[in-house]
């Protein structure tokens, strides 16, 4: 049998580059800068390869690997966000002595894992991709190995994540047992309500996926890992794996589980509401900015899941738009953290932000835009993200979900306002060093300008996403 290798060319290219870069790292001493730049280059080339590849649906390797518009969209999103996250955090990495050559290589490996996750059309391939990603993330979480908090967060993440992987694997094996196949399309044709065992398996898989996107009640690891891991890693955690996890969730709901919609819908609605409420309430009392962003990301996943909960294509689309805008906002928010430097230390407490509007007006206004956008106040980008989700939710007449969701936006507005209050209303306590962190500033600028100008052409993402579900 001859396979059309063009279809997995991005993956082949990525793996080969990873091995070559690894060789460079092994044989050349002090090669962090070289490898870092090469990594950025590899990411850019991969983006180019994927954007030039056609968007029609193709399946290879016994239909276990799909290349379609959906996977291409997510791959580009993953690559672009990794590029921004990685580059804006470079100064941070060097100054905190995390500049080991493995750092960018492991990031690339996790990207490769995510590629297989979003392209998988088979339980085995999906699981392998997920594990490749997870293993890379365990190492990344504890990369600052002499730091107690970083190590602790790595261990916590590893133990809990391994547990969830176990549940996921258990679900997969049950699913195989009850449907007789590992292929998504075949599972879809085998599944129905009467197949109780498979419904049981669905619950396990859902738990595993909910863990990966840190949805309540499987969110416990998030605040600790976000706080403990170095900021550069946290920003990666908050943005990239979330995207891939959500893509996988949508894919599971769209293909294998499409026939048991009523069974999983209730679960997703519960998870979504719980995430929205917990994200909003728990964030109120946080003093650490990273921890707050962790809870805010839990809340945001709740809104994204509200789109999935509709079980309609327009709902999935709204979730994809949501996660895209979420990525843009979070890249901006984390990049701001790289500018809060004082005496060689990066500050991460909210109280450290007090009064920065006087000494750093540009940073303050950027944070203002990003935070109001996270709160979903029009006319900023974050409003449209929520708007599209709730349009899809109300289309299915799920009024309770919509009303609870919108009420929690008021609750969550409270803690975003608290940060803005610290920035603008309080008196200035400390002045930060005016760091020449160009890449972080570019990320902030890009993020803010997208969020501000989004209302001029708010259907730009919808037009992109509209093509994803034709196949």
């Amino acid at each position: 049998m001859i396979y059309n290798l063009n279809i997995i060319f991005p993956e082949i290219f990525l793996s080969l580059s990873i091995f070559s870069v690894l060789m460079i790292g092994v044989f050349i001493k002090k090669s962090f800068n070289l490898i870092f730049n090469l990594t950025s280059l590899i990411i850019i080339i991969t983006i180019m390869i994927i954007s030039s590849s056609p968007n029609d649906t193709e399946k290879v390797f016994s239909e276990s690997f799909t290349r379609d518009a959906f996977s291409n969209y997510f791959k580009i999103l993953i690559l672009l966000s990794s590029l921004f996250v990685l580059n804006s955090s470079k100064n941070f990495i060097v100054e905190n002595k995390l500049d080991k050559f493995e750092y960018p290589i492991i990031i690339l490996l996790s990207i490769l894992g995510m590629f297989f996750m979003v392209s998988a059309n088979d339980l085995i391939l999906f699981y392998l991709g997920l594990e490749l990603q997870s293993l890379s993330l365990y190492i990344l979480a504890s990369i600052d190995r002499d730091n107690l908090r970083s190590t602790e967060s790595g261990i916590k993440y590893f133990v809990l994540s391994a547990l969830s992987s176990g549940l996921l694997l258990y679900g997969c094996s049950l699913l195989y047992g009850f449907t007789g196949s590992t292929n998504f399309d075949l599972i879809a044709s085998q599944l129905n309500k009467e197949n109780t065992g498979a419904v049981f398996a669905m619950v396990f898989i859902l738990v595993g996926l909910a863990f990966k996107v840190s949805a309540v009640p499987f969110h416990m690891w998030t605040p600790d890992v976000y706080e403990g891991a170095p900021t550069s890693i946290t920003s990666y955690f908050a943005v990239v794996p979330k995207t891939a996890g959500l893509a996988l969730l949508i894919k599971f709901m769209f293909i294998p589980f499409s026939n048991i919609l009523l069974e999983w819908q209730t679960i997703i609605i519960f998870i979504s509401i719980a995430s929205m409420i917990l994200g909003a309430v728990a964030a109120m009392i946080q003093k650490n900015f990273k921890r707050l962003l962790a809870y805010s990301s839990i809340g945001h996943i709740g809104y994204a899941l509200a789109g999935v909960a509709t079980g309609t294509i327009s709902g999935y689309k709204s979730t994809i738009v949501y996660i895209t805008i979420y990525v843009i906002m979070n890249i901006g928010a984390f990049s701001c953290l790289y500018l809060l430097k004082k005496d060689g230390q990066y500050k991460e407490n909210i109280s450290d932000l007090s009064g920065i509007s006087k000494k750093h007006p540009l940073l303050a206004i950027s944070l203002l835009i990003i935070l109001f956008s996270l709160a979903g106040i029009p006319p900023l980008g974050g409003f449209f993200a929520k708007f599209y989700v709730f349009v899809a939710v109300i289309e299915k007449e799920m009024y309770a979900l919509a009303i609870i969701g919108l009420l929690t936006t008021v609750l969550s507005a409270f803690y975003y306002l608290k940060i803005i209050k610290t920035i603008y209303f309080d008196d200035s306590l400390i002045a930060f060093e005016s760091t020449k962190n160009r890449t972080a500033q570019i990320s902030i600028l890009a993020s803010c300008s997208i969020l501000i100008t989004f209302f001029l052409y708010p259907s730009i993402l919808n037009n992109l996403v509209d093509t994803l579900f034709i196949g």
């Binding site: 349009v391 289309e395 919108l406 008021v410 209050k421 209303f425």
Partner: protein, 492 residues
């Protein structure tokens, strides 16, 4: 397609705020002030031109602009009619006054303040121009951001509490409206209000949607019992913030009732009339009594605003020609009078840094020009014939008498209470003896202050004697509003 005059109007303040951002003046803020004055005056003149060229003999929306926005879903649709044009002109008129007032009162971060005011103006104009529910919501909510900052950054000692209360109250009210807007989209297939007027929302949905809209407008209005954010916000906001809040932001809700609630949900509007009557009467009497007990001038005026807005809601939901016309008139006149009163408080606050009534007394002996102006505004606020305040209240009460004697009598009682707190305030502040040595050294109003206050006084008296320019503008639109409402009821 003709020149997009409404878009220009909306984005003119925004563009001038960008110029302020780019202007470089380190020591003083003259160039920022000139740019903002120029920008806001240009906007004002443009809106006057719009008013002048508006055809008042039709209730159709004019200067309509339509642009596809969110593909085949929501259009960016703007347009004005006889009702909205007046609010538009009020907005563009009040903004330059605020900018002039801040020359005296704002000392820190002047540049940022002007930018916030101008961005707020953009959003306020947008509210009164939008002919699409989503666009309306967008502008309606977006105004929260600059107002939050105006209260929080330049406000008084309890500014944080007030800013949070303002923001969260309003947001909480509005999210239900967003649900209703999206629901309307799925019921009618459009969010374009001219189309919704024709499609007619089915009866079974009207009540619940009407309540969702009420939740937003009641907070913004503010109606009893969700009015508590207003006194706090007014007291803590800087003068310019209070002026904008009282003169324009509160009018958005009244405008919202006229533009959305009544035409879109006529059956529900009729059904809930008793509720509105009750809430309005409570607002008029209760907040008037509360106003009597205040020892803070700004708080007193804030409570009087709630009472005046009670007349507005009462008038709108009489659904008679006199009632609605009176409400619109009352809103415009309250926009002028409350702005003037807050400016007056601002003038003495800038000098003595106290808003307490007890600080003042006997002002007439030392600053006579100021005292005269204050007296005019106080009399206008209590609805003295010959001021614009009288006409609005009179028409509202005329309208109410046609529908409910009880409501009208209770509301008339509120007029007496209004006279009581206003006159007592004047007595304690302007007349009597000065019990504070600093009052003797007070400087009378300077040129820019007398300019603003005299303009307002002139307009208040002018519209008190000659209401025709305003009445003519909204007459046809109000007629068609009532006509459509009555046909909707009879066809039901």
């Amino acid at each position: 397609m003709s020149f997009p005059i409404l878009s220009t109007l909306i984005f003119l303040p925004l563009i001038s705020s960008i110029f302020i951002l780019l202007s470089k003046d380190k020591t003083n803020n003259n160039s920022s002030i000139y740019i903002s004055l120029f920008g806001s005056f240009a906007t004002f003149l443009l809106s006057l031109f719009l008013w002048y060229s508006l055809d008042v003999n039709t209730s159709e929306f004019q200067f309509v602009e339509e642009k596809s926005w969110i593909n085949d879903f929501i259009k960016f649709k703007l347009g004005v009619d006889g009702i909205s044009i007046l609010f538009l002109v009020l907005t563009t008129f009040i903004t330059p006054i605020c900018i002039i007032s801040c020359i005296n009162s704002i000392r820190v971060r002047v540049k940022e303040f002007l930018i916030a005011i101008l961005i707020l103006e953009t959003f306020m104009i947008g509210v009164f121009c939008s002919l699409d529910l989503v666009i309306f919501y967008l502008f309606f909510e977006a105004g929260l951001i600059p107002m939050f900052l105006i209260i929080g950054v330049w406000g008084g000692p309890k500014r944080v509490y007030s800013a949070f209360k303002f923001f969260l109250f309003t947001l909480l009210g509005s999210v239900l409206m967003l649900v209703a807007i999206i629901a309307i989209y799925w019921i009618t297939g459009t969010t374009d209000i001219t189309q919704i007027y024709e499609i007619k929302i089915p009866k079974e949905y009207q009540n619940i949607l009407w309540l969702a809209f009420l939740s937003s407008f009641a907070v913004k209005m503010p109606m009893w019992p969700v009015h508590t954010w207003l006194p706090d916000a007014h007291v803590e906001a800087p003068t310019a913030g209070s002026v904008i809040l009282a003169a324009i932001l509160l009018k958005m809700a009244g405008y919202g009732f006229l533009r959305f609630s009544i035409p879109m949900f006529p059956i529900a509007s009729e059904y809930f009339t008793p509720l509105i009557y009750t809430l309005s009467i409570i607002a008029i009497i209760y907040t008037s009594l509360v106003a009597l007990m205040q020892d803070d001038m700004k708080k007193l005026i804030a409570y009087s605003s709630v009472a005046h807005m009670g007349y507005v809601t009462l008038g709108i939901f009489t659904l008679t020609k006199q009632g609605i016309e009176g409400s619109i008139y009352q809103m415009i006149s309250h926009g002028l009078i409350s702005a003037a009163l807050f400016l007056c408080v601002g003038v003495v606050y800038d000098r003595l840094h106290s808003r307490m009534i007890s600080t003042y007394g006997g002002l007439v002996n030392y600053i006579p020009k100021y005292s005269l102006l204050f007296l005019i505004f106080a009399l206008a606020a209590l609805g003295l014939p010959g001021t614009s305040g009288f006409l609005g209240e009179f028409l509202v009460l005329t309208g109410t008498f046609q529908k409910s004697y009880l409501a009208a009598m209770l509301a008339t009682f509120g007029v007496v209470l209004g006279a009581a707190y206003m006159l007592w305030l004047t007595k304690r502040v302007i007349f009597g003896v000065a019990n504070n040595s600093e009052i003797k050294n007070l400087k009378d109003v300077n040129k820019s202050e007398i300019g603003m206050l005299a303009t307002l006084a002139f307009l208040i008296i002018f519209f008190g004697f000659y209401p025709l320019p305003l009445m003519e503008t909204f007459n046809v639109s109000v007629n068609s509003l009532i006509y459509n409402y009555e046909t909707a009821l009879t066809s039901n």
